[in-house]
């Protein structure tokens, strides 16, 4: 192992490369990337941009096989390759070489990371995330969302891009948004002490604990720093999806605040949408043959619909979002811009406020739970009192509940 350098590619790789000079680069490319739509790389050579000159094709031109162990290649290929190597040419390195390094590839401030991981999604290696000095700065999250909304759906259909990018976003949330809480009475003393602790002291405590050192063998300064942390709670960021427990606590507190402000909610609504059977989802997936003005639009088979949902989870989430907002906007009469009910309200009267959470079933189907407060709605205790005292109220109350 010592023969291998710490950084760089495997030495001698160029000797294992066999150049294929018979196949035509463009033909092979077309064959390998055959698909329904144009490959993004082909757009580079669009004739409109380079009129009357040779189309500008940026492609990997060196093809061949590398076999470091040299035991899976027939002998004549070797001979041929050796003979070719007698002919002087440019660099004999393949175009794509997997490098190895002694340090991990940095995740922060590294514009090369994502294009490096996904050369098929970033065929030119440009338009990466977090490019320094970009004229208009754009956050990682926003750009990821933008890529998933592109008309070209390569990013949505990619089998791992979605997951890796979400994972990066969630990791960042946990790295950068962790903070401390402390009892109000101790805030002043703890805050001044905490700021005074030197970072190298903290680092030495961390090293000590990581190496399973004992508390008693710490120096006085180190002990003081560690003791200080006992008064402080570390609050991890609210990371939707990952730390379900903590996120749940956060939501419960929010609901409590809503109840403190608006009183008890009046309606509890669960909406269990089914993207796989909905004509609207088929349209969002890109099936332009769906006629939504028909009462019963013609759909593809249930199997095909399930495959579509699995292929395009972004359209599935868009469908969920679209349906929920439509229900609240058009059926419940909620004005999203003004954040209040429209003057005419909707099928459940006028909504004063609502709180919703989206969840996945164990089958991976999105559904939503909503607590809804109605304008002029009564507290259950008030309803019960009126039921006892006012026969007319009781009549009116049940008039609506018995209508079907």
């Amino acid at each position: 192992m010592d023969l291998y350098p710490n950084d760089g590619y495997l030495p001698g790789i160029e000797e294992g490369v066999i150049h294929d000079r018979q196949s035509d680069v463009e033909d092979v490319f077309k064959e390998e990337t055959a698909g329904m739509s144009e490959h993004p790389a082909e757009l580079l050579g669009s004739p409109s941009e380079t009129p009357e000159s040779e189309p500008l094709v940026v492609m990997l031109e060196k093809m061949g096989v590398a076999d470091p162990k040299c035991d899976r290649m027939p002998g004549r290929l070797f001979t041929a390759a050796a003979l070719r190597n007698l002919v002087p040419g440019g660099s004999e390195l393949p175009d794509l070489v997997l490098h190895r390094g002694s340090t991990a590839v940095p995740e922060y401030g590294n514009p090369d990371l994502v294009p490096g991981m996904y050369p098929t999604l970033f065929p030119t290696g440009t338009s990466s995330f977090e490019i320094p000095n970009r004229t208009c700065a754009i956050s990682f999250k926003k750009q990821a969302g933008y890529y998933l909304d592109l008309a070209d759906r390569s990013f949505r259909y990619h089998h791992s891009f979605l997951f890796v990018v979400l994972n990066i976003i969630q990791r960042r949330a946990s790295h950068l948004q962790t903070h401390f809480t402390v009892q109000r009475s101790k805030f002043e003393t703890v805050a001044t002490k905490l700021v005074a602790v030197k970072s190298n002291v903290l680092q030495s405590v961390v090293d000590h604990l990581e190496n399973e050192g004992k508390y008693n063998s710490l120096t006085g300064e180190q002990k003081a720093a560690l003791d200080l942390l006992k008064h402080v709670n570390t609050i991890a960021a609210r990371i939707p999806g990952s730390q379900a427990g903590k996120f749940k606590v956060f939501m419960r507190n929010e609901i409590r605040s809503y109840c403190g402000f608006f009183g008890l909610p009046h309606l509890y609504i669960t909406l269990n949408l089914s993207a796989a059977h909905s004509p609207i989802f088929q349209l969002l997936f890109g099936d332009e043959t769906i006629d939504l003005s028909k009462r019963f639009p013609v759909l593809v088979s249930a199997r095909e619909r399930a495959l579509r949902l699995a292929k395009d989870p972004v359209a599935g989430a868009d469908f969920f979002n679209f349906c929920i907002t439509s229900i609240f906007r058009y059926l419940f009469g909620w004005d999203y811009d003004k954040r209040e009910s429209t003057p005419s309200g909707g099928i459940i009267g006028k909504v004063e406020a609502f709180y919703g959470s989206s969840e996945f079933t164990e089958r991976g189907i999105l559904h939503g739970h909503f607590l809804t407060w109605l304008l002029g709605g009564l507290n259950p205790a008030e309803v019960h009192d009126k039921m006892c005292d006012d026969d007319d109220f009781q009549k009116r109350f049940f008039l609506h509940s018995s209508k079907t």
Partner: protein
């Protein structure tokens, strides 16, 4: 269904500016027809989307001896208020159908559940059970 709605609203919009009595009979007939189509749709969608059949998922998480969604619901012939227990019972015609809103059911065509929170206990359950 949406077609009927559009034709109805067109009719309302096309009423001339000078006040004139609307053609009552025609409107009424249309409304009646709409109502009857709507009722058929409620039944159709209800059977497909809201009826609760006994499934394996009912007995997940250790609910071996009962359905975890608490089906079937108890039949309530007519809505009433019970003075002694100080509680309100709403009409339940069919114990295996999920509580629903007819407009939500017919216009959105998906399974849903809607519950009136009529007691402090129900409120707590709604606030903490699912969230």
């Amino acid at each position: 269904m949406p077609l009927m709605l559009t034709s109805l609203s067109n009719l309302v919009l096309s009423v001339p500016l000078r006040p004139q009595p609307p053609p009552l009979d025609a409107t009424l007939e249309m409304l009646n027809e709409w109502e009857s189509v709507f009722c058929t749709q409620i039944k159709m969608c209800g059977e497909v989307l809201q009826r609760h059949g006994r499934r394996k998922v009912c007995h997940k998480y250790g609910n071996d001896d009962r359905c975890r969604f608490l089906f079937p619901h108890e039949i309530v012939e007519a809505s009433y208020f019970d003075l002694e227990t100080n509680s309100i019972f709403l009409l339940v015609r069919d114990g295996t159908v999920n509580y629903f809103n007819p407009y939500l059911l017919v216009f959105c065509r998906h399974n849903h559940d809607i519950k009136c929170i009529l007691s402090g206990k129900a409120a707590k359950a709604a606030m903490f059970l699912y969230h």
